[in-house]
Amino acid sequence: MFAYIESLRMALSSIWGNKLRTALTTLGIIIGILAVTLMGTLISGLDRSFEKSMSFLGRDVLYIAKYEWFGEQEWWEIRNRPDLKVEYVEKLKAQSKYIQAAAPVTIRTANITRKDEMAMGINILGTTTEFVQTAYMNIESGRFYTDGEDRSGARVIVIGYDVANALFENENPIGEKVKIGNYVFRVVGVAEKQGKFLGLFSLDNRAIIPLGTYQRIFSRRGWMRLDVKVGQANIDDAKDEITAIMRRLRGLHPQEKNDFAVNQQDAFRQQYQTMKIAIGGTGVFITVLSLVVGGIGIMNIMFVSVKERTREIGVRKAIGATQGSIMRQFLLEALFICLFGGCIGIILALGGSFLIDKYMFPSTMPISLAIISLILSSVVGIVAGLAPSYRAARLDPIEALRYE
């Protein structure tokens, strides 16, 4: 036991005696640990914002659209697909046993004005009241429009959080008038803040008007999506059923391919997984590379250290050090050089992840990763220290004492 503590003390004092050399040697380890921890931080942050974004999509919502989200078909195969129609909604609801809510959604971009204020590039959604359920939307103040308003084509509008802020700073927007082009709308509700979707576009930067109104003012034709909420437990069954119903509605022969797509959150998830593997793989590659290089550096410096201290080793052996205790001393030295590098790497990574958290997206460095990287650097230290320590342990004391 004392022997271990003493070996430790000797190893530490040797490292302390060669501060600069140790610091330079550990650079590879530092970079390796930095790479693996920062990558972990990055992935954790991406995970978090991805999950947050996914919660907007809803796990149990199917999105029936003209095209697949991440389709791999050639464009000429799918360009002639017909648009979706509003009447599908009622037919789907009538024939499906899974559908809990369904809303047709159509979108265009427009500017919303109020007196001198203008909110530019707002996504104007035309949809029905069931959108509240399919989009998991909460109204912060006011209300969503009613079925009656939808059917009658009332000029009412529910605005997103950012839109409300832009047009009505410190004012209550409910009941106020805004204009899209020349059409005047009355604000009936403000949606709760939702944040950005995958950091790409904001869900607070939109306004929702009744589908009836939308079609009267803008267009009855064009792009449309059907958002269908089914029970989470049945999502796969529901997907099959809805695909079947859609095929029937479209009058497709069994041999014909679908001319529509039933999308779900999983599509994003798969894309994301692919990306994550790419990021992770790159990180692991850099880490392994720099740890190997760092390990070789440490092996080299340990060989130098053994050479330099040949006489010391001779003395220690003469006064009773066993091969084991010499081996232990040098192994611990290599181990601590690596652990030292690992700690510096983690400290730098903490700083880095703080910056990522502050300037990129919310993230934290996973503790488990810090521990893993410390273990990793210990392993590198031991592996790199083995050969030099073995050489030190096997030195012939007579030769070593004679060494100049």
Partner: protein, 243 residues
């Protein structure tokens, strides 16, 4: 007197490729407790090999070596390390102190390998430093000490485990004559206290301190003589006479 060291036909051959060097070629030697011995011989005579052999740093190619009844010639590396640690104190020509440690820590070193607890280690080390009268300098590093002081630290290190034998290889070789005398006085004192001391030297006046001188030539003992005029003997006789 009990037998401390017993060599019987000890041979040590080195195979240097083209030929076999016979560093020791059949040495028979018995050393008893509380002897004061000097080993002399020209360079290449095998005296270093003999010293390494006595110090359990080397194993014989042939022959037997018993140290207080323990069969050294059959020992493996760890057992040799252990016997060096417990039974043998080394003093080198070049002191061989660890430069980064203070005098006290240098003296403590063998006790670390003997697995002595820290508090006890420091106590024993301080006693050993006291024996070579360096208590006031024990917290200095070797480079802050004079040559004579360094060698005294080395002697304290050799003493600290209370070994059966102190093996000194040219202990005054790197010292000026004044420090040399000082160091030899320390050895004389240690001998009087009952220690067994073996000096390896090629200086006749150093060898005079010992009461038995072994001359080595070509790997064999050429001469093994009692030195009745030894300085320590004289002193001892004086002491006895006065007593």
């Amino acid at each position: 007197m009990a037998e401390l060291i017993k060599f019987k036909g000890v041979k040590r051959y080195y195979d240097v490729g083209s030929e076999i060097v016979k560093a020791l070629d059949g040495v028979d030697l018995t050393i008893n407790h509380n002897e004061y011995i000097s080993i002399m011989g020209p360079s290449g005579s095998g005296k270093s090999t003999l010293m390494n052999m006595i110090g359990c740093l080397d194993s014989p190619t042939d022959g037997t070596y018993e140290f207080e009844g323990e069969k050294v010639h059959e020992m493996d590396d760890n057992q040799l390390a252990s016997i060096r640690n417990r039974k043998i104190g080394f003093v080198f020509q070049t002191f061989n102190l660890l430069p980064k440690l203070t005098a006290l820590r240098n003296v403590e070193l063998p006790l670390i390998y003997a697995n002595v607890p820290r508090d006890e280690r420091l106590k024993l080390a301080e006693i050993a430093v006291g024996k070579v009268s360096l208590t006031d300098r024990m917290h200095h590093k070797p480079n802050e000490l004079s040559g004579g002081q360094r060698q005294r630290v080395a002697i304290a290190r050799a003493l600290v485990t209370n070994p059966s034998i102190i093996l000194a290889d040219e202990p005054t070789g790197n010292l000026d004559s004044k420090s040399g005398v000082e160091i030899m006085n320390v050895f004389d004192e240690l001998y009087k206290e009952g220690n067994t001391i073996i000096l390896v030297t090629h200086e006749a006046y150093i060898a005079e301190h010992a009461h038995r001188t072994i001359h080595i030539l070509d790997g064999c003992i050429e001469e093994d003589i009692k030195n009745h005029k030894s300085k320590t003997r004289k002193k001892l006789r004086k002491k006895k006479a006065t007593a």
